[in-house]
C-alpha cells in the first residue's frame, strides 16, 4: 500500500503542475501547439531529453544490460549522445529558423512547402502516425505492467487474477487519464513544464536507486566482483571461456532431464519404483523447486534407463521439454542425429506455454503476503502467478546460450538514433524554442544527461546477473529482463524506495507519452482538418477545440489497442525507430540539398517504407528479436532465421542500414533525373547569404 500511496501522490502532484501551467495558457492555437515559441534553453533541454528518454531509459537499459552485458551502453547510449546532438545541431536549429520564418507547426507543413507538393502530406501522414502508434502503445503497456508489478499484494481479496495488485488495464487507464488532463488543459506549455519536472524526477531517482542497490549488494566493488566471478561475459562484448563451459555443462544436464521427463511422462516407458525414488532422493542433496525431478533424472541416467530412447524420441523430448511447436513434417535426419540447441530454437515456442505453471503450482499460488503454512513459517509465503510462470520457465526450458556482440551490428546500430531527426513530436518541440541560441544547452548537455541516466542503470542490470539473496541467485534463468530493475528494488530495498522508483519509471514514460499525444493531435488538426477544411473556415478557438478532441481520440484509441496486449509490442520499438531513421535522408536533403525534387522525395519515402515492410515481414513481424541482415557464409546475403545464432566471422547488419541506403539511393537518383524545384522555392529555403 505504501508504494500505491507514493505513486498516487506523484500523479496528483503532476495534475497540480498541469493545472498550474494551464493558467499560463494564452488561449491561442500557437500557444497550445508551440507554447508561442517561448521555451528557453533549460526547459528545451529538459523537455527534449524527457521526450527522447522513454521507459527504456530506466527499465529497458537495465533489462538490456542484464541480457546482453555492458555492450548495450556503447550500442544504445554513447551512440545516441553523438547522433542526437548531431540532429539537434544540423536539423533542429535549421528547422527552427524556417519554422520561425514561415510559421510551421508540423513536419508535413514544411515538406509541403519545400517540395511544392500538397499530396506529400497524404503519403507521409499515415506513415508518421503508423510509426508513432506502436511507440505510444509501448509506453501505455509498460506503465500498466510496472504498477501491477510493484503493487502485488496491496489488496486483501480484490484482483486475485493480477496477484492482488492494481490490474495493468486500470493502471494504464489512470496514466492515460493523467497525461490527457495536463496535455488537454496545458497544451505544449503544460507538456514542457511537466516534462521538466518529470525528467528531474527520473534522473534523480535513477541515481538514488543505484546507490541504494549498490549498498545492499555489499558495495560497488563487491557487486562488480561477483559478476567477474560468475558472469564475466557481461563485462565485455565477447563470450568468456568459463561462461561457455558453464553453459555447455548446464545444457548437457538439461538434455538428460528432457530425456527422463519425456520417457516417464509422455512415453511412460520409465517408471521408478517407490524404493528407487527413495534411493534417488537420498543421494541428491540440493533443494530447489524441482529437486525431485533432478534426483530422479540422475538416478535414471546412472542406472542406464535412458539408453532405450531412440534418436527420434530424444529429439521429440528436446522439442517437448523446451515447449517448442514440433515440425509439421518430420525432417529426414530426425532419426539420424540429435538436435543441437540452435536447431531446437528454430521451432517457435508455444505462445503462453509458461502459463502451464498455474496448473502445476496451483497449490502454491495465493496472496503473496500470506504464509503457505502458518504452523511452518519456513515454507514461506504463497507464490504470485508471475512467480509460478518464472519457476516453470526456469525448471523446464533449456538454458540460454551466451553470445557475443557482433562489431558490425554494433557499428550499424549507429543508424538507429538518426530516428530523432524525423520524430514528429521532437520536430514540434524544436519549434517551441525562444531563439536559435536556446538549442546550445540541449546540444551540449544531452550526451552528459544520457550518461547520468544510463551508466547507473547498465551497472545495476549487469550486477543483477550475479546478485544473490539468502545464498541463492536473485534471478532465475529466463527471468523477463524488463522486470529486473523493479524486482530488484522490491526484493532488497524498502517499500518507500520502491514507490519512489516506480514514480521515476512512470515519469520517464509519461514525459514521452505527453509529447506524442499532443503531436498526433496537432498533426490531425493542422495537416488534415485545417489544411483540407480551409484555413479561414475555423477561428483560433475552434482550432484549439479540434486539437483537444483529437488528443482525446488518440489517447482513447491507444488505450483501446493496449487492452489487446499485442504480441511483440516491446520488440517493435527498434522497428519504429528504424522506420523514422529510414526517412532521415529526406529531412537532411530537404534542408541542405537544393537539387532535391518532389519526385525524389516520393521515391525516398516509398523506398523507405517498402523496405521497412519487406524486412519487417522477413523478421516474422518482429518475432525474430535478433533479426539482422547477414553478409558472408554460405550465401552472400541472408536473413537471421528463428533461433539462429550467427557464427563469428559473418557480418551482421541492422535492417535500418539497408533501409537508409535504399531510401538515399532512390532519392538521389530520381532527383537527378527530374526537374529541379522552382527558383522561388529555392530562394525561400536557400536564401543568398
Amino acid at each position: 500500500m505504501i508504494q500505491l500511496t507514493i505513486i498516487s501522490i506523484y500523479l496528483v502532484l503532476l495534475l497540480i503542475l498541469g493545472i498550474f501551467s494551464s493558467r499560463l495558457f494564452k488561449g491561442t492555437s500557437k500557444d497550445y501547439m508551440l507554447a508561442s515559441h517561448s521555451i528557453g534553453p533549460f526547459l528545451l533541454l529538459m523537455s527534449i531529453f524527457g521526450t527522447t528518454m522513454t521507459a527504456f531509459a530506466l527499465v529497458g537499459s537495465s533489462g538490456e544490460a542484464y541480457k546482453e552485458g555492458i555492450g548495450v551502453y556503447g550500442m544504445l547510449a554513447s551512440s545516441s549522445g553523438i547522433i542526437h546532438s548531431l540532429c539537434f545541431f544540423v536539423l533542429g536549429v535549421k528547422v527552427w529558423t524556417l519554422g520561425k520564418k514561415y510559421g510551421y507547426t508540423t513536419q508535413i507543413q514544411f515538406f509541403r512547402d519545400r517540395l511544392e507538393s500538397d499530396k506529400i502530406g497524404i503519403l507521409l501522414f499515415p506513415i508518421l502516425i503508423g510509426l508513432v502508434i506502436p511507440y505510444l502503445l509501448i509506453g501505455v503497456m509498460a506503465s500498466g505492467a510496472v504498477v501491477n508489478s510493484v503493487t502485488e499484494g496491496a489488496f486483501a481479496t480484490s484482483f486475485a487474477h493480477y496477484d492482488y495488485g492494481i490490474p495493468p488495464w486500470l493502471a494504464s487507464l489512470v496514466i492515460c487519464g493523467v497525461v490527457l488532463v495536463y496535455v488537454f488543459f496545458g497544451g505544449m506549455r503544460g507538456t514542457a513544464w511537466a516534462n521538466t519536472f518529470q525528467t528531474l524526477v527520473f534522473m534523480v531517482l535513477g541515481v538514488v536507486t543505484f546507490y541504494i542497490i549498490a549498498e545492499d549488494l555489499g558495495g560497488l566493488k563487491a557487486a562488480s566482483e561477483a559478476v567477474v566471478k560468475k558472469n564475466p561475459s557481461k563485462l565485455m562484448r565477447s563470450v568468456a571461456p568459463e561462461d561457455q563451459a558453464r553453459y555447455e555443462k548446464s545444457f548437457a544436464q538439461w538434455t538428460t532431464m528432457a530425456k527422463y521427463n519425456f520417457a516417464s511422462k509422455k512415453l511412460k516407458s520409465i517408471s521408478l519404483t517407490a524404493e528407487q525414488k527413495k534411493e534417488a532422493y537420498a543421494a541428491f542433496k540440493p533443494r530447489m523447486p524441482n529437486w525431485k525431478l533432478k534426483a530422479e533424472t540422475i538416478f535414471a541416467k546412472k542406472n542406464g534407463l535412458l539408453k532405450q530412447l531412440s534418436i527420434a524420441q530424444i529429439n521429440d523430448a528436446y522439442v517437448w521439454q523446451d515447449d517448442r511447436i514440433p515440425p509439421e513434417t518430420i525432417p529426414e535426419d530426425w532419426d539420424k542425429a540429435e538436435l543441437t540447441h540452435e536447431s531446437i530454437q528454430q521451432y517457435p515456442r508455444k505462445a503462453g506455454a509458461e502459463t502451464a505453471g498455474y496448473k502445476i503450482f496451483a497449490d502454491k499460488i495465493g496472496h503473496p503476503k500470506k504464509l503457505m503454512d502458518p504452523e511452518n513459517p519456513k515454507a514461506g509465503t504463497f507464490w504470485t502467478r508471475k512467480k509460478a510462470r518464472g519457476v516453470y520457465r526456469a525448471t523446464k526450458w533449456a538454458p540460454d546460450a551466451p553470445h557475443h556482440l557482433d562489431p558490425w551490428k554494433f557499428l550499424t546500430y549507429l543508424f538507429v538514433p538518426l530516428s530523432v531527426g524525423m520524430f514528429p513530436h521532437l520536430f514540434q518541440h524544436w519549434l517551441t524554442a525562444k531563439s536559435a541560441s536556446s538549442f546550445k544547452l540541449p546540444v551540449v548537455a544531452h550526451p552528459i544527461f544520457i550518461m547520468i541516466v544510463w551508466v547507473p542503470c547498465v551497472l545495476v542490470g549487469v550486477w543483477a546477473t550475479s546478485a544473490e539473496l539468502n545464498g541463492r541467485a536473485m534471478f532465475p534463468p529466463h527471468f523477463p529482463p524488463n522486470a529486473v530493475l523493479a524486482s530488484m528494488v522490491k526484493m532488497i530495498t524498502t517499500p518507500v524506495l520502491t514507490g519512489f522508483l516506480t514514480a521515476g519509471i512512470l515519469a520517464a514514460i509519461m514525459s514521452s507519452l505527453d509529447s506524442q499525444f499532443l503531436c498526433v493531435g496537432t498533426i490531425f488538426t493542422e495537416d488534415i482538418v485545417v489544411h483540407y477544411g480551409g484555413k479561414n473556415r475555423f477561428n483560433d478557438k475552434q482550432i484549439i477545440v479540434i486539437a483537444r478532441l483529437f488528443i482525446i481520440g488518440i489517447v482513447a484509441l491507444t488505450y483501446f489497442f493496449s487492452l489487446f496486449e499485442p504480441r511483440h509490442v516491446f520488440t517493435l520499438g527498434v522497428w519504429c525507430f528504424s522506420g523514422f531513421s529510414s526517412l532521415f535522408p529526406l529531412i537532411l536533403a530537404a534542408l541542405y540539398w537544393k537539387r532535391l525534387t518532389k519526385a525524389g522525395a516520393y521515391a525516398c519515402i516509398i523506398t523507405a517504407i517498402s523496405l521497412w515492410l519487406y524486412l519487417f515481414t522477413m523478421s516474422d513481424y518482429a518475432a525474430i528479436s535478433n533479426f539482422t541482415i547477414n553478409f558472408g557464409g554460405e550465401s552472400f546475403v541472408s536473413f537471421t532465421k528463428p533461433g539462429q545464432q550467427i557464427a563469428p566471422g559473418i557480418i551482421q547488419t541492422m535492417p535500418v542500414m539497408t533501409m537508409i541506403f535504399g531510401s538515399t539511393l532512390a532519392m538521389i537518383l530520381v532527383s537527378l533525373v527530374t526537374k529541379p524545384p522552382r527558383q522561388e522555392t529555392l530562394d525561400r529555403f536557400f536564401p543568398a547569404k
Binding site: G74, S224, E225, M236
Partner: protein
Amino acid sequence: MKYVIWGLVLLLLVLHQDFWFWDDATLLFGFMPIGLVYHAGISVAAAATWLLATIYIWPVDVAEDAPVS
C-alpha cells in the same frame, strides 16, 4: 575551424567502435568495467565536441536570432 570540428565528430564516431576493450573485463576503480568507462568517456568527449561546435561553428547569426514575436 569548421573542418577541425567536423573532423572531431568523425573521429568520435570511429573511436566509438572501440578497438581496444572488446574482450576486456578489467574493473577500474575496483567496480567500473573498462569498456563502460571507455564509452562514458566517449559521452563526455561528445559533449566537449558539441560545445566547441556551438562556440565556433554555430549556424545562426546573432542578427537572425531575434526571439520570435
